[in-house]
């Protein structure tokens, strides 16, 4: 299997890595760039734990080949906080105890941020439908939905 040299922008930084043809973006992030915030749940697009932003699109990084990231802009959970200051969604997830094991959390956060960027004032139903691609086996979703709605309220300044 041949190796490819890939250059991309990850969380604002220019990066360069080598990856095999069969390697996914998820594996490139975790194993080549040591950005282990993004998780693997299923590897087949079902769970959303591996969600990242790729050129502004919310994608499952397990369904993208590493070589496909060439020249693209990637945002992962590591880029959400500004230094020590958590993103409002991260803070609300803690306040509402919207996580237990935490495996789904990075994907939930990335996915929820993508929602709030498009729709700063979503209804509960809109939050639930938007997050349908992010599975959680622990929380029962309720606290996650509450945290997202609360973060949306705060971010609107309401």
């Amino acid at each position: 299997m041949s190796k490819h040299r890939v250059t991309a922008t990850v969380n604002g930084d220019a990066v360069e890595f080598l990856c095999e043809t069969g390697e996914t973006l998820l594996e490139a992030l975790r194993d080549e760039l040591q950005l282990t915030g993004t998780k693997e749940g299923c590897g087949t697009g079902d769970c959303g734990a591996c969600s990242v932003m790729l050129d502004g699109r919310l994608v499952c990084s397990c369904l993208v080949l590493g070589v496909e990231a060439q020249g693209k802009t990637i945002e992962t959970v590591e880029g959400m906080a500004k230094g020590d200051e958590l993103h409002p969604l991260q803070r609300k997830f803690l306040e509402h105890a919207a996580l237990q094991c935490g495996i789904c959390t990075p994907g939930m956060l990335i996915s929820a941020r993508a929602l709030l960027e498009r729709n700063p004032d979503p209804t509960e139903e809109e939050v639930r439908y938007w997050l349908a691609g992010n599975l959680c086996r622990c929380t029962g979703y309720h606290k996650i939905v509450e945290a997202v709605l609360d973060a949306a309220r705060e971010m609107r300044g309401a």
Binding site: G45, L58, C60, L63, V67
Partner: protein, 337 residues
């Protein structure tokens, strides 16, 4: 990680992609959003020697042509279809069918062409095979079928689960196909062979370039329903798409197209049931009868844990409601709501 060896090329144009695919014939695949192909490669149901990436080709925006028909690039992402103001206004059924596909991650990455060309599904097929130590089924080049062992040899009852194909067939859409010798145009309906082993009537070096949907005539109305358990991120139990043409009285049907998806090797049109509606007043009884006839002739394959009996009931009930909703939509429009 995909564990077998394959090559990767990036195409700058669709023509270039076709030329690259033609070079390797049967062993090469186009990679659009990858949301169907990569899981299939990971399970090693598909083992291409070459992937030709289309991700560097920018799709054209959906456009209305001079004759009122709408043309949509095959590389258009499902999220674009779902949210495009033009698509929602001119072909709302298409926007609706894109909206119900998978989850957001799948819709933001998945493309229209990839959706139509997605693999058929089967509970046996869609799992890792390498640690199961069982012989491959027909679909994987073997000599048996696990869920349907009594079938004749070489009969694969896998199910084609696109949500968008039924809507497009109901809308009488066509696809433009680019091959080595140029483009051809066929009805979306003609894309499907009805054979689970080779569900699509495309050669390896042919790619979908665009979908063309004719303009709606006055009196057109539609209904669409994806029957699900959870209501998000799941394949349909059955997918129903209905396009009706109504006379000026708003009740007499002058043309009908009914499509049932996600229950056979390709979408199915119950032509006799369609005909039973034409020239008739659409009352409760007539719609009920058409729905019952449809559930019989479609003859759903048991899939993903749903029995044939259950799917027949499901189709009957939901098709009746979908027809009724199409009528209601026409009335609402008439009333300016």
């Amino acid at each position: 990680m995909i564990l077998f060896d394959f090559d990767y090329e990036r195409a700058d144009t669709l023509e270039q992609a076709v030329a690259l695919l033609a070079r390797l014939q049967g062993d090469a695949r186009a990679l659009a959003g990858g949301t169907d192909l990569l899981p299939g490669m990971r399970m090693e149901n598909i083992r291409p020697g070459l992937l030709v990436s289309l991700s560097g080709i920018e799709p054209e925006a959906p456009q209305v042509l001079a004759d009122g028909s709408i043309r949509i690039d095959a590389l258009t992402r499902l999220a674009t279809l779902e949210n495009s103001e033009l698509v929602r206004r001119v072909v709302p059924m298409l926007a609706q069918s894109a909206h119900v596909v998978g989850g957001n991650q799948i819709r933001q990455m998945g493309t229209l062409g990839g959706n139509l060309c997605q693999e058929v599904r089967c509970l046996h097929l869609d799992q890792k095979h390498d640690y199961q130590f069982v012989a491959p089924c027909y679909k994987r080049g073997g000599t048996c079928c696990y869920p349907f062992p009594r079938n004749a040899p070489e009969v694969c009852w896998s199910v084609y689960m696109s949500d968008i194909a039924p809507a497009l067939i109901a809308l009488n859409a066509q696809v433009e196909i680019l091959g080595e010798t140029g483009t051809r145009r066929i009805d979306v309906e003609a894309l499907f062979t009805g054979n689970g082993l080779k569900p699509l009537a495309l050669s390896q070096a042919e790619l979908l370039r665009a979908v063309l949907i004719p303009a709606a005539a006055p009196g057109f109305t539609w209904g669409f329903h994806k029957s699900t358990v959870r209501g998000g991120l799941e394949f349909g139990m059955a997918v129903l798409a209905v396009a009706l043409q109504l006379a000026e009285d708003g009740r007499t049907c002058t043309d009908a197209r009914i499509v049932v998806g996600a229950v056979r090797e390709g979408p199915v049109r119950p032509v006799a049931a369609e005909r039973s509606l034409i020239g008739k007043t659409l009352d409760e009884e007539r719609m009920e009868q058409a729905a019952a006839d449809t559930s019989r002739v479609v003859n759903p394959l048991p899939h993903h844990g749903f029995s044939k009996r259950h799917l027949m009931d499901n189709i009957r009930v939901h098709l009746r409601r979908t027809l009724a909703r199409a009528l209601q939509r026409a009335r609402d429009q008439e009333a300016g709501r």
